[in-house]
């Protein structure tokens, strides 16, 4: 087996909001083709950790390295904003609430990053956007505004928007939690396909099925620390900690 590159590496991430320490030292490594599911009950810090990876939250301490490049922090802020932005552009992100730009059509949403950030030509960006929208099954919704789409469709546009940046890894922040139950399937299906393609993904989720069947590694957070970590096969059949045992018992 060839050596896989380390795409995202987090070392000893701490994050406090005021006096409350939400993350108490989390380290994680995502290599090419890894699909890492991050589980944990609400308040465990899993979303905060994910947001630290692309600096939507600045870690209080600890380092984030993306493909060998470290984002330097000084006085609680990224030292070089431009450098941080270029690194962000290499990590896609999909949000719980989709966060599509509501004043732009699906197509414009997907074209926006390539044109504005990667400085591609309109024609180039358009071709690519059409291809990715087709990829998520929305070729007939290209010229609609987010308000005209269902939640599941919006989330698929959001995934296409992330893909259009051709990111080295994609971060998913509870991508199905805001969806009606009958719409969860279509989004999970797209995510499974992406995993099968070999994309590097870090997924904060409540979908046990996804974590168990699709991910290559499961990380269980509890009170700001990694309580348990391993392959889904081992962890789900033979949980090592009481916390995780209780967690899956409740979830299933």
């Amino acid at each position: 087996m060839t050596q896989r590159d380390i795409i995202v590496q987090a070392d000893d991430i701490h994050k406090s909001f005021g006096t409350v320490e939400v993350l108490k030292g989390i380290s994680l490594q995502a290599k090419t083709h890894d699909v890492i599911s991050i589980l944990g009950s609400s308040g465990s810090g899993k979303s905060t950790f994910l947001r630290c990876l692309n600096f939507l939250e600045t870690p209080t301490s600890g380092t984030v390295t993306v493909h060998g490049e470290e984002i330097m922090v000084k006085n609680g802020k990224p030292q070089n904003a431009r450098h941080m932005e270029t690194i962000r552009a290499r990590l896609g992100m999909v949000f719980q609430q989709f966060n599509l730009w509501t004043h732009r059509t699906s197509l414009e949403n997907v074209m926006e990053g390539p044109i504005q950030v990667k400085r591609e030509t309109r024609a180039e960006a358009r071709d690519k956007a059409e291809a990715y929208l087709q990829r998520v099954g929305l070729e007939d919704r290209m010229h609609m505004y987010p308000s005209q789409l269902s939640g599941g469709q919006q989330q698929r546009v959001a995934i296409a928007r992330a893909l259009a940046m051709e990111p080295e890894a994609i971060l998913f922040d509870e991508p199905t939690s805001a969806l009606d139950p009958e719409l969860v399937g279509e989004v999970l299906k797209v995510m499974k396909d992406l995993a099968a393609e070999g994309r590097t993904m870090i997924v904060v989720t409540h979908e046990m099925g996804f974590a168990r069947e699709v991910s290559s590694e499961v990380v269980f957070l509890n009170e700001g620390r990694i309580a348990e970590q391993g392959s889904p096969g081992e962890m789900f059949t033979d949980p090592k900690t009481d916390e995780f045992r209780r967690f899956i018992a409740k979830a299933m």
């Binding site: 932005e85 962000r88 966060n99 004043h103 059509t105 609609m144 959001a158 940046m165």
Partner: protein
Amino acid sequence: MNPFEILAQYWPRLMDGTLMTIKLTLLGAFIAALVSPGLALIRVHALPIAQAPLRLYISFVRGSPILAQLFLIFYGSGQFRPVLQEWGLWSFFRDPFNCALLAFALNSTAYQTEILRGGIIGVPRGEIEAARAIGMSRQKVLRRVVFPHAYRMSWPALGNEVILLMKASALASVVTVFDLMGRSRQIFSRTFDFSVYLWAALIYLCITAIFVLLWRQAERRLSRHITARDKSHGTVPPLKETRP
């Protein structure tokens, strides 16, 4: 004289005044529109201490009559003529049109700043995060996400502000600017026929009506993405199987 004779005789002057009113209003509103986005951002993001001077200026403008502000600039500048001459600014303040324009621009800036501030606060946070997450710079986030939303939400209030400014611009006639009001007063002082004010009122009404129409067109463009939903009701083919 009957009202139509007044109009027949004096319409060139009334038109002249109308153009001056439009010029004064649009220029004032435009200068304010250039300055207010930056000030609105300061109002939203800067530390309270840093924005103290701005807040003082805004409460002064909002808390005093625009006529008082106009007099302050027009008569005040006369008071400081030697200083202004020394700085080479006297030629600007000597012209009553410039004084009126400055007063209106300063006035409208304060209002437009506060209106836009409301719009900026209302921009959905998630959309800003999505823009940051995709790697946009701060400026790009402002240009591509924050201001498009902020202007759409502020648009009706901004239109209102321009209309109010247009009517307030009649005050310029007090400091010898011959705008529509100034011309009407001039005509009245010759004819003692009050119907000239009726014509003036009608012209103001026409300007406002045209402005409202244009503004509404622009508003429609800005809110396409919201009206799209209602319009598409029934016209979009029933959901096809779109699953991948």
